[in-house]
């Protein structure tokens, strides 16, 4: 892992300013936001990602899921996937057969790409 400067800005504006100095992803981004880090740090360990600066956004107030006036949902940038999947509003309005408490079968059905693959014929290896 390459060395980096670590920043924890106190608000969103400071975070955006810190990140605005980066090259684009295609150019080899040198400033990255750090949230959970499970993708970024994994890639940094392999030297695939080599940011010179990490901007930690975990302590900014982005962890909320809120209803919007037009009936939508505003999902903060650092909301965890698991929190979102089991959020009452999400289960009520966005998942089929989800009025009851979640079961493994329901979540497996809605995201089981393996079943979709099995249903289609295998591709030939050449």
């Amino acid at each position: 892992m390459h060395a980096f400067d670590f920043m924890r800005p106190g608000d969103a504006e400071a975070a955006i300013r810190a990140a605005a100095q980066t090259k684009t992803a295609q150019q080899g981004a040198d400033v990255r936001f750090l949230a959970g880090g499970t993708t970024l740090l994994d890639l940094m360990k392999l030297n695939v990602e080599t940011p010179a600066r990490l901007v930690d956004i975990n302590r900014l107030a982005f962890a909320k899921v809120e209803a919007t006036p037009d009936g939508g949902l505003r999902i903060g940038a650092t909301v965890r996937n698991s929190d979102l999947a089991y959020h009452p509003a999400v289960r009520r309005d966005y998942l089929p057969e989800a009025a009851a408490p979640p079961s493994a079968a329901a979540t497996a059905r809605s995201r089981c790409w393996a079943r979709a693959r099995a249903a289609s014929p295998p591709t030939r290896r050449t």
């Binding site: 060395a3 980096f4 499970t38 975990n58 493994a104 979540t107």
Partner: protein, 205 residues
């Protein structure tokens, strides 16, 4: 040949370890025990400018630990190597096996894919903080009762995940427990007994 990965601000591991070792040796020569807090702290602060190490304060199992680490140090390596709590294991170091599971502010985290720096000031719970041989956490007792381990290497992570699961919206069935524990793998195949232990604690067995 110059290391192609080295940037001017970069620090090689060798340089970091050399200076860290030198400061420990200097402290020993001065007659202070290397483990004494003030000497270690002074050495760490003096080193920071040279080595790029930064101070981090972690509350681990209810105790405050002030350490000085390379910013790249994962929470896992900090717990094991810097603080010396080796109950948390390094299985894959890439977030796939779950052996490194700890709690941060009560939620389970793969400590191998988290930086120590990220958790400055936060509450960390490791397997050492869950219970003691004379005062086992109910989950530890259930793992014993149900023989939920063989070699034991995945077990710390399994137990830490299982304890966090108790506060998560996991369904009642074994299939639900398996889904919620799917981030912790066991090469010995103790899965049936692990599920049984967890269901026992949840009152479903």
């Amino acid at each position: 040949m110059r290391d192609p990965y080295l940037r001017p601000s970069d620090l090689t591991r060798r340089a970091f370890l050399t200076t860290a070792g030198a400061s420990a040796a200097a402290a020993a020569l001065a007659g202070c025990a290397p483990a004494s807090q003030p000497a270690a702290q002074a050495g760490a602060v003096a080193d920071a400018a040279k080595t790029g190490a930064v101070p981090v304060t972690l509350r681990i199992n209810g105790q405050e630990h002030r350490v000085s680490v390379d910013p790249r140090t994962t929470l896992l390596d900090c717990l094991r190597e810097t603080v010396g709590l080796t109950g948390t294991k390094k299985g894959c170091d890439h977030g796939q096996c779950g052996a490194c599971t700890v709690h941060v502010n009560g939620r389970r985290v793969n400590s191998c894919l988290s930086l120590a720096l990220m958790h400055d000031g936060e509450e960390i719970t490791t397997i050492e903080g869950l219970g003691a041989p004379e005062a086992l956490h109910p989950m530890q007792a259930a793992f014993l009762a149900r023989d939920g381990y063989q070699c034991g290497y995945c077990t710390s992570g399994q137990i830490m995940s299982a304890v966090a699961l108790l506060k998560e919206p996991c369904g009642r069935d074994d299939a639900d427990v398996k889904e919620f524990m799917s981030g912790n793998i066991c090469r010995c195949g103790a899965y049936p007994n692990i599920v049984a232990a967890i269901q026992q604690v949840r009152g479903n067995r």
